[in-house]
């Protein structure tokens, strides 16, 4: 981490470069940085040369190896998937939950279980549709509220702004579900020299993510096709379909993924992390299987919790076939390579990888 940078640098290096992920880490820790929908802005320069906003951002210099050390206590064993203890296929036992969820319902089931058993007392989650296209993050205190947050909509919500709000209210024992950039920022918050409430986050479930869409462009695009307030679910069926399906109360609309790709946030092109490498547990799809998840258990705390959940019968697990594991690793490696390529295109300088501080080994592999 580079010391001595503040909101002006954040504006210059991240916001004005289109690199903001809208994670919300910098929002509402001071009165100067605000978010509306997925748009973050520094309202007024605070005049300080050093700030948490800069330190927490997932797109300011991030030493991957140092973060591996602070989260896992050791270097990563797997350069494409990060540190992990186990990888399996999993599915929520609750079939209704599976139905609401994007894939196997594992995230919702685990969060609900964590709340019901007192593992955590607050959860920072995201409702995929809140009466309109824009997702909304919220803090829930009851396991029964988790259900509402099942599913995904491919737009980033400033989840960590909600976390900041929660910690400002002195909430502790928090669980959080986030996409890779949010999990990365959270770990930076927890590792910061400043005492932050983020250390009260005890359980982090990371989601797989290949990209997110920018709200404004996607909204304008969708508005012409469906009534955004009627959207119930958005899905991208497995390749080679190359389509997006938007389900509404009055029927489904399908269009080519190529039409949507132009709304991908530019920052997603420089993202190095597909599988939420710094989460306690990472959950994503299993390519080709609709109602199962890939479940990566990464930290000992994550393992302990998953073991309990399995014992309690909250989720079913089966081994992940070797070919599927290889496929996952390959997908993750491709994302890393593409990110490094995109960064090099931006900087035009082999030595300047923007925010990424990679180990020599990773450099060798992906540069």
């Amino acid at each position: 981490m580079e010391a001595g940078k503040g909101s002006s640098d954040l504006e210059q290096e991240v916001l004005s470069q289109g690199l903001c992920t809208s994670c919300g880490a910098c929002v509402d820790i001071c009165p100067y940085i605000k978010v509306v929908k997925d748009k973050v802005a520094v309202i007024e320069p605070c005049g300080l040369t050093e700030g948490k906003c800069y330190d927490f951002c997932p797109r300011t210099p991030t030493d991957i190896a140092a973060l591996d050390k602070s989260v896992f206590g050791k270097p990563r064993a797997d350069s494409s998937l990060g540190s992990y203890i186990s990888i399996e296929m999993a599915q929520a036992k609750d079939s209704e939950l599976r139905c609401r969820a994007q894939y196997g319902g594992v995230v919702s089931a685990l969060m609900k279980y964590a709340m019901d058993t007192g593992e955590i007392s607050n959860a920072v989650l995201t409702k995929p549709f809140d009466g309109a296209l824009m997702p909304s993050s919220l803090v829930v205190e009851e396991g029964s509220e988790v259900r509402e947050c099942a599913g995904s909509n491919y737009i980033a919500s400033a989840t960590l702004a909600k976390l900041n709000e929660a910690t400002k209210q002195n909430r502790k024992s928090i669980g959080l579900v986030g996409i890779p950039c949010q999990v990365l920022a959270l770990r930076k918050m927890q590792a910061a020299k400043h005492e932050t409430g983020a250390r009260g986050v005890k359980l982090v479930i990371g989601l797989f993510c290949t990209w997110a869409l920018s709200y404004k462009g996607f909204y304008e695009f969708l508005k012409g096709k469906v009534d955004p307030s009627q959207i119930r679910r958005i899905d991208i069926p497995p390749p080679p379909a190359n389509i997006m399906v938007v389900e509404t109360a009055t029927g489904d609309v399908r269009f080519s993924l190529d039409e949507v790709r132009k709304f991908i946030k530019p920052t997603c092109n420089v993202c190095y992390d597909m599988t939420s490498e710094f989460a306690d547990i990472s959950v994503g799809m299993v390519e080709g299987i609709q109602d199962w998840n890939t479940l990566i258990v990464r930290t000992p705390a994550g393992k302990k919790f998953i073991d309990k959940a399995k014992k309690a019968g909250v989720i079913n697990t089966v081994p992940l076939e070797q070919t599927r594991l290889e496929h996952l690793k390959e997908a993750s490696s491709i994302k890393k390579k593409r990110a490094v390529d995109a960064i090099r295109k931006r900087t035009n300088d082999k030595g300047n990888l923007l925010y990424l501080r990679l180990s020599a080994q990773d450099k060798k592999k992906f540069l």
Binding site: D28, P31, K39, E44, C46, G51
Partner: protein, 635 residues
């Protein structure tokens, strides 16, 4: 019993200039008063409203000045005596009507009080209203002190009735807002009944009407020749004379005395400045070789006197005229005794100074020794501060270099640090939305900046509605933000059509801003600006839309709210405020900049000035440390 009601002729009382004007109207038996609030005229209708019941006067706050003049003219046409009061800008608003009613004429006494604001102490310009008298061929009176303010107002009704024309009386801020001795006159018993007769149409025989108007002017000129408001003081056969009017009279007297020139310099004081009492003036300038013109703002009297001197050059011979044209007096800003003395000294080759040259510096030093330096800002608890912050934040989040067109009201301060420099244009009433309407149609020329027009509630009724309709029908891309604080706040919280009460405090029907907007067919939202996150969100969202949209930020003016009920007491928990260790960089006291929050230098933490804080609580919402809280509430 208020002074205005005293029926003790000959008694001397202390009165504000505007009260003296109101008293003059009462002594004239005024029946009807219509006005739109505007500094420095506001206390005239307010004074009349206080005694409206006692003297059976109808007093109204009209939606704007032209409506006020039209309504008052109706009373005049029905045979009543009517008064209209307005600030100088109001003259422009009512001038369209003025330029025809002069032709068709009036019946009962109709007096138009034009209160000018030299130096624009509370105005967006310092225009000199007197040119309207010359422009519209109407009689003009200029009171020079408090007694004249009363007496001339009373006389103006008689002039108006005699001529069948409105009579204009010009006051200035120093006269309207200072106090002086006034000897009361008699209160007359009114016996008038309203009845309309006759035809008042301008346009049918304009040239004939115009000719008649000029005849009327010549007729009143004769009356002016013998007016007691025109007089000369000083040595007989003085070679040097100050010719002055209005507020210039007292400044001139003081300057002559300060320079010890009473024996050498005379003062010719004119109270009836249009049309000029020419014979009277010529008579007093017969032996004169030098004239110093003293008046405020335009060289109105100066130019008219110069024309007269040219016409009578044979009689008067060559006379040197010093004034605005010669550079002896600036044709802008307020006059004072010093400026007159300086001009006089330079003409007479005197070195004497009227006062210590370091007077201004010394006065400043003394003042600053016990008055803190403070930028012009919104009051504590002012809803506009929150609204401006919401606008600033939303424009920044939007990121397309949007800007705000401003209008006339307390929120005009938004052009400065109080409103985070958000307002980029300020002109006249209603110009914010009017100009925004044009900006919103520039897209085909590559213009892509969002435009926000801010407008006060009173301004909305006064002048913004036609522009909003224009925006709507031309599908202009404009976001109008109505800053609705429940009254005409800047002039002292007079009611407006949305307030639910009339000028005398009686309940009145309301006209809701949102209903007007809905009728116009634009998208409208209403929000309390103190719900600041939501306010930012709303503005941002509306900025993403197209066409004409309206956001109403509704929150009652806190000066009024605080007077009406006890507010919550806020304080800074200094154990929670971590001062400069916080990332906020003294946001509350430095950036949000409410006078109710101060920096406690000793503790190096923020502090609420409880004497000043009105308890709005917005800072508590914005404080990142949650250190600002309500006294007594559990933390």
């Amino acid at each position: 019993m208020v002074t205005l009601e005293l029926n003790q002729p000959g008694k001397t009382v202390l009165m504000m200039g505007n009260e003296a004007i109101a008293r003059g109207a009462i002594e004239a038996g005024v029946d009807f008063c219509a006005a739109y609030p505007g500094t420095p005229s506001t206390e005239i209708p307010e004074s009349l409203a206080r005694v409206a019941e006692r003297f059976n006067i109808y007093v109204e706050w009209s939606t704007n000045e032209i409506v006020a003049l039209e309504a008052a003219t109706a009373a005049s046409l029905a045979g009543l005596r009517a008064l209209v009061a307005m600030k100088q800008n109001g003259m422009n608003v009512c001038s369209d009507f003025l330029m025809t009613i002069n032709l068709s004429g009036t019946n009962g006494g109709l007096v138009l009080m034009a209160c000018d604001d030299p130096s624009a102490i509370s105005s967006s310009n310092e225009q000199d209203s007197r040119s309207y008298a010359r422009y519209a061929d109407l009689p003009l009176l200029e009171p020079a002190d408090f007694q004249e303010a009363k007496d001339m107002t009373r006389w103006a009704f008689e002039i108006s009735e005699k001529l069948g024309l409105p009579c204009i009386v010009r006051s200035v801020t120093r006269l309207s807002h200072s106090r002086g001795n006034v000897k009361l006159g008699e209160l007359t018993e009114k016996k008038r009944t309203a009845k309309f007769e006759g035809v008042y149409i301008s346009g049918a025989f304009v040239a004939a009407q115009h000719a008649a108007l000029h005849q009327k002017l010549e007729q009143v000129r004769e009356d002016f020749e013998s007016s007691k408001f025109n007089f000369y003081v000083g040595p007989k056969k003085a070679k040097c004379v100050i010719v002055t009017c209005g507020s210039g009279w007292l400044y001139s007297r003081e300057a002559v005395a300060a320079l010890g020139l009473e024996g050498r310099v005379g003062i010719l004081k004119i109270g009836t400045t249009w049309p000029l009492p020419e014979k009277f003036i010529v008579e007093h300038l017969k032996n004169v070789t030098e004239i110093l013109m003293v008046e405020e703002v335009d060289p109105f009297l100066e130019q008219n006197i110069k024309v007269l001197l040219a016409e009578r050059a044979k009689t008067l011979g060559p006379i040197e005229v010093y004034g605005a044209k010669s550079g002896h007096r600036p044709p802008y800003g307020e006059m004072n005794q010093d400026k007159v003395a300086k001009a006089l000294a330079s003409i007479k080759g005197l070195k004497t100074k009227a006062r210590d040259g370091k007077y201004v510096e010394k006065a400043k030093e003394l003042l600053l020794s016990y008055i803190p330096i403070r930028m012009p800002t919104f009051c504590t608890g002012c809803p506009h501060r929150a609204s401006m912050w919401a606008i600033k934040a939303a424009l920044k989040l939007d990121g397309r270099d949007g800007f705000v067109t401003g209008d006339i009201g307390c929120y005009s301060l938004g052009a400065g640090p109080a409103g985070y420099f958000q307002l980029k244009t300020i002109q006249c009433m209603g110009a914010g939305i009017g100009m925004a309407t044009g900006f919103g149609k520039l897209d085909k020329f590559g213009f892509n900046q969002p435009v926000i027009a801010v407008c006060g509630d009173s301004t909305f009724y006064h002048a913004a509605i036609p522009a909003l309709i224009n925006a709507r029908v031309n599908n202009s891309n404009v976001l109008m933000v109505v800053l609705d604080n429940g009254g005409t706040a800047m002039t002292g919280f007079q009611p407006h059509p949305g307030s639910g009460c009339d000028a005398c405090g009686r309940p009145a029907p309301t006209v809701e801003i949102e209903n007007i907007c809905k009728a116009i067919g634009v998208e409208v939202r209403v929000r309390d600006p103190f719900e600041i996150s939501q306010a930012i969100h709303d503005i941002y969202e509306l900025l993403q839309g197209e066409g004409t949209r309206v956001m109403i930020f509704r929150r009652r003016c806190f000066r009024i709210e605080a007077k009406e009920k006890l507010q919550q007491k806020y304080f800074v928990d200094q154990s929670k405020c971590i001062g400069d260790d916080c990332g906020c960089a003294r946001f509350c006291s430095r950036v949000f900049n409410c006078p109710g929050i101060i920096w406690d230098a000793e503790a190096q933490k923020a502090k609420i000035d409880e004497m000043v804080c009105t308890g709005c609580g917005v800072c508590a919402t914005l404080c990142p440390g949650g250190a600002i809280m309500v006294r007594g509430a559990a933390s």
